[in-house]
Symmetry: D2
Subunit: 429 residues, 4 copies
């Protein structure tokens, strides 16, 4: 999840007070997410994709230090001369950085050091907003808005990485306990019909909105008549696929997917474990029996694609999804619900487009016609990843509500599973 705004397309709020308030809020939320953690939980990196929480805390601060304070604050001295090396993620044009694979090998800076770093950066940014001239504020507003959207992405990553960290441990710790009432079965799967023709896709510019550069430019796309499912695929439906030999039938799989099933020994979604005949899964509320009514989550693109083939359907394209979703309100089981786990659909009609799980599409992540990355190092945010990745849409139970929109493009390589990833079916009309 590596995304970025096109500043030239951005009409940010230039009201410094409002910006400062939003800044304070996002920064505080990052820290609130980490509140239940033990110091040790901040340090480890069980797989290369999962970064230590303290790294996320520092990296999101480095982002403001590097792109904002060092640029716009005259005489700004970096908090520590080596933090740029340690906490740059992949911005080659911003200088050398510590190898990703070694993030979990660093005991220092300590968690307390990192929190001091955060506080320092937060204070300096607020200082800047309180004292800079109007032109600087205007430029700062762009970078801050980008930085806050960046930080919201890392809020989601914090939750998915914490989940992976706690799950990689036989002690099965609970991140956040909750009471879980037995869910009602979701409504039967229905279909939403859309007529084909030329539609538009991509972000619509308007006052004080924000988007990443990969959502631009708004452009025309050609759709055929299609239908898209009213709700997500459930665990119950996915178990039927498994029971029907889903993981043993090569004809259902893409070649790379089948090779991965073999090499990784996949027989179920990530985090699932069969205990005495019942499927259980690790959640941020601990290990629970798999609920047939909930959307299936933690499946790769390969599994989503195989499931759809087994069901006689297909995944939607990213434009079919966007076309279906753009008139719907951005509401659902998002970060603010505080559940951090997908929940069953509850009503007929279009459901779960936003929140619950990121929905794999059949679209490769590629530039829109006329796509232009930002100049400079922030131009590395999105564009350079447009190779061998697939688009996901709609946000998840770990996505802040204000962060997502119809045009939002998330993207991952097709083998990943540790994000809150699931699927919705589509078919030709």
């Amino acid at each position: 999840m590596n995304q970025q705004p096109v500043s030239s397309a951005l009409l940010v709020s230039q009201d410094a007070n409002a910006l400062a308030e939003r800044f304070r809020g996002v920064r505080a939320r990052t820290e609130a997410i980490c509140a239940p953690l033990e110091t040790e939980d901040y340090v480890v990196q069980p797989i290369i994709d999962v970064s230590p929480p303290k790294w996320h805390l520092a990296h999101t601060s480095w982002f403001f230090e590097n792109f904002l304070l060092s640029e716009l604050q005259p005489g700004y001295e970096r908090f520590h001369p080596l933090y740029a090396y340690l906490f740059n993620s992949y911005y080659i044009l911003s200088g050398k950085f510590h190898p990703r694979v070694d993030r979990g090998n660093l005991s220092r800076p300590t968690v307390a050091d990192v929190y001091r770093y955060r506080e320092h950066v937060t204070d300096r940014v607020l200082d800047l907003l309180a004292s800079a001239d109007e032109a600087t504020i205007a430029r700062a507003a762009e970078i801050i808005t980008l930085g806050l959207n960046h930080e919201e992405q890392h809020q989601e990553l914090l939750l998915t990485d914490i989940k992976y960290i706690l799950s990689s441990n036989p002690l099965e710790s609970v991140f956040k306990a909750r009471d879980i009432a037995p869910a009602q079965p979701p409504p039967p799967l229905g279909w939403l019909d859309f007529a084909g023709g030329i539609a538009e896709a991509g972000y619509v510019k308007h006052d004080d909105g924000f988007c990443f550069d990969n959502e631009l430019p708004r452009h025309r796309v050609l759709l055929n008549d299609y239908r898209i499912a009213t709700r997500l695929v459930t665990n119950g439906e996915y178990v039927a696929f498994m029971a029907d030999g889903g993981y043993e039938r090569p004809e259902l799989w893409l070649s790379d997917g089948w090779a991965t099933v073999q090499s990784e020994g996949w027989r179920s979604p990530l985090y699932w474990e069969n205990r005495d005949g019942d499927w259980h899964s690790f959640t941020l509320a601990g290990v629970r029996k798999v609920d047939a009514n909930e959307p299936v989550v933690h499946v790769s693109h390969y599994e989503a694609d195989a499931y759809a083939r087994w069901a006689g359907k297909r995944l939607p394209s990213e434009f079919e999804w966007e076309h279906a979703a753009e008139s719907l309100p951005v509401a659902g089981n998002l970060y603010e619900s505080g559940i951090y786990h997908p929940a069953p659909a509850t009503a007929d009609g279009p459901a779960q487009f936003y929140g619950d799980v990121w929905e794999w599409t059949q679209s490769a992540y590629l530039p829109y016609p006329g796509f232009k990355p930002l100049p400079g190092a922030v131009g590395e945010y999105n564009g350079k990843f447009m190779s061998s990745q697939m688009v996901l849409r709609g946000g998840s139970c770990a996505t802040p509500a204000k962060h997502v929109r119809a045009s939002y493009r998330n993207f991952f390589q097709p083998f990943h599973r540790w994000q809150f990833m699931g699927l919705r079916l589509a078919e030709d009309a």
Copy 2:
């Protein structure tokens, strides 16, 4: 390159004699390609992608034995009970197969054995065509046509694999010597302008034509106004990119591409070597000084994409390419030229669309709307590879002329270089 016809869309010649003649011709050409080889050249596999020539000879025979003779010839007994295991490539539904990585570890069957196998299969197919009833001939015609197109693909692979095998050896053998007159500079790069709108792409069905299933269905696509270069990018132009730090500037590269440049140490196209200040390259006619006038070849998608970014342009989409090419005659420096090396453009106007090099596009290899693979094991020919690969268009100096057409989709992972791969620029109008 793994492709297949949609039988239901196929109107094959049911004239058994004509079919037999074409069959004899294609089979003979495969053997003619191998004529210059020493026995030892048939055996080795220097990298996993490059198969031993004797494997190609046997695999293309197995294809007919497995999908035709075993299906349509009553009482057909396979030439050898283990050849299906040894020479099936990746058709999981046709049974277990020998690991690809070990193809070069098999000394037996010998080359002579493999030629006996070929002869046996060729004779049995001709027997079938000479004696079967009309309905059988009709079904046979479909499979044989598929098998011959399959064999033509392997003819190209034979040439590229032989090139790799001979190049992986300090003895620098010559496959086929030829006199090479100094080339004239190509005409300056011009641009062909196309107006946007709804166009059609994909194979147009007509009598006795053939296409692979991935070219279907013919469907509508939306194009924006665009321009496409009249000719391919040359070695001279590519050397300018190299001289301008092309391989040292991360901002020009996709992230995966840059990682590959670093891990593989790429500093030039495959087969290039700097000898005393002059670039040389290995060709099927031996090591030669790189000719600035010839099209650049043996570049990955990453390199093609970086070059285009450096040049301020982009790669065409596969539909832009097809739209530009479909009115042009299928002619150029193809297999029949006997050169097996790209040649300079010689005239103004649209040039080199067919032959010389496969042209990387910016399109991921994905199913067309409504795509349906064939039933059964041949359904594995194309569809299962629609993940993490990029489309190439236009055929190369190693492609038989009758094999290629405007709608033809070749595909490879973006890091491959050993095929005759190059590029043509495009831009938004």
Copy 3:
């Protein structure tokens, strides 16, 4: 370093009070070693050989829980049902254990949990000693003595692992600051002459002594006339080897050593870095300029062997070393010096046999004639590692003084460098 006593050969103190006191002391020392650490330092595992300090703390407690409390304390309930899985190192007969490679991926149990576990085990062992009958005490004394020697080994590993952890971090933290007076040059290298003949090697049993099973049985060995250097090889001498192309001359190296030099890019001992022309090294007191007078440390067996060949000498056999050392007092720069770094020799005559650095010998780690491992899981302590490892002798600056003796056999694979490893020369008389 995996070693164990032969209980049948062991005459342990059966005075429960004395034993309790020694037990308390060793346990407390382990914790004292860790006192300077930050919580985060306890967690990471930068390479597979280096275990997280909290793992050492827990593993040395598991040892007593598993081999003592569970065996001799009726009704003993384990502190946590999963700790045996998490903190067993390699005792297959004691049940399954967590993969070594993943020790640094565990955030839980926390450091505080581990200290509670230690306290629990310490208290229960003391309870046992305070209340058990004589026969139980006698058996407990054997296991406790083994466990304390085991814990002393882990005290040394804690120091070497902490060194590696802090060094693997650009922040260059100081574990324990100290003032370092400029060292005086050591005396010139002298030689100690020994006449050949039949000697004895191995531990001499006596009252209340302890040894590991691999030091037994005491047995006869045949020595030729030999000479052994009075002191260790110094940094200054080693730099002369480097300056003479030591790392570029294959004829000086064992084949495996040369391959390692190439693949690892070794050009100096571990922890050395050339800064502006001067060699510096990371120490537990921070980064310091390499002192020519100090013994060279953190060299592999390959480097020790290559140095000796370059010097026209050889490494001593383990029996030559033992024969030379057994009449010397066990004294020197050991753990109790508090320096945790090798120090220059200061006087003529035999020097540095104990402490400073473990000395590589030319002897493979193999069983003595008549060697018998202990029955049961503790039999895995030493014997199963008698393959492809080399013997080191003499203890280091991180070895507790009471832990080492003339017959003590340490052993590591020849490529390791992270222990305090150095060398002393020998030659035929």
Copy 4:
């Protein structure tokens, strides 16, 4: 198997005619071994340890070209300027060489080319012997004798590598058919008792004998009273170990051995396969049912060691073996028997010390006291491998009779199995 003579210790026959005759004979035998091969069999390298037969043919010629003709033949021009690069094995001081892992990727030079190379070298060596002066002959005799012993080692490697090549192929080719009469059970295992004391080991210099440098100097060793088995361990005995859970009981194994059993999935010796409940093995005469009376072969040091532990015995040291063997005639089932497979013991008393299988010892391969490698590149023959390898003694069914002797030290890493390797038990008296 990398071994070399100490020229200074060598009193070679200086009778040029006799030498020429022996030279012709050894060279011809190498070619005779390869006579049953198909051209393709000469080319492949299924694992890195197994070299293509044509590589052996060329490498043994390069040895004479490099160390003899280039040194002693004035104006000698190498057969091909690149063959030194292609066919040097590991003599770093003789210049760069082609990576071992790529030997099987070279289709050229062809087999015919290699035979021409052999003939050329053979002729030039014979020319030299026919025309050189006495001093040159004397020096040549040393090098030729070394070269012939080197070539005899490669004769054994040719047989073991051919076996591996043919076995790595489902077609199960027969190298040399033979009639196999059902074997009689061997005599019961008896024991030979030897009194301890100081013995001598190593080669005894005498006229016109030859040894490798690693057999020198003859030196004193100390033996304890010991017993050594009269014959080798049989398949029947080994199957009893397997049936008793030999491959499932970690307590029987060295740690490295157990790790290898797990990672490689070993459940039997190499080449064994259970078909319908009966163990079969691949031999140079084809796949045969395992004969309980034959010596077990193709076991690693780990397996030999585990078997001995299971049997309550141990492996002999190399000096125990040599002491037991040195009074026995060098006779047995060696290369000249033409069977290329171990045969059952037939009589009471000391049996199978020479031939059948190389016998793993418990001795690490280390230098004898006072060992000195030859000067120059031939000094790389043996000495540089004295790390992490184990000694084997006695020769095998693929060893030429004149090649082996009591002092002969073969050596391999403990995990290897593809040589004819087995074991004989020993125990303390």
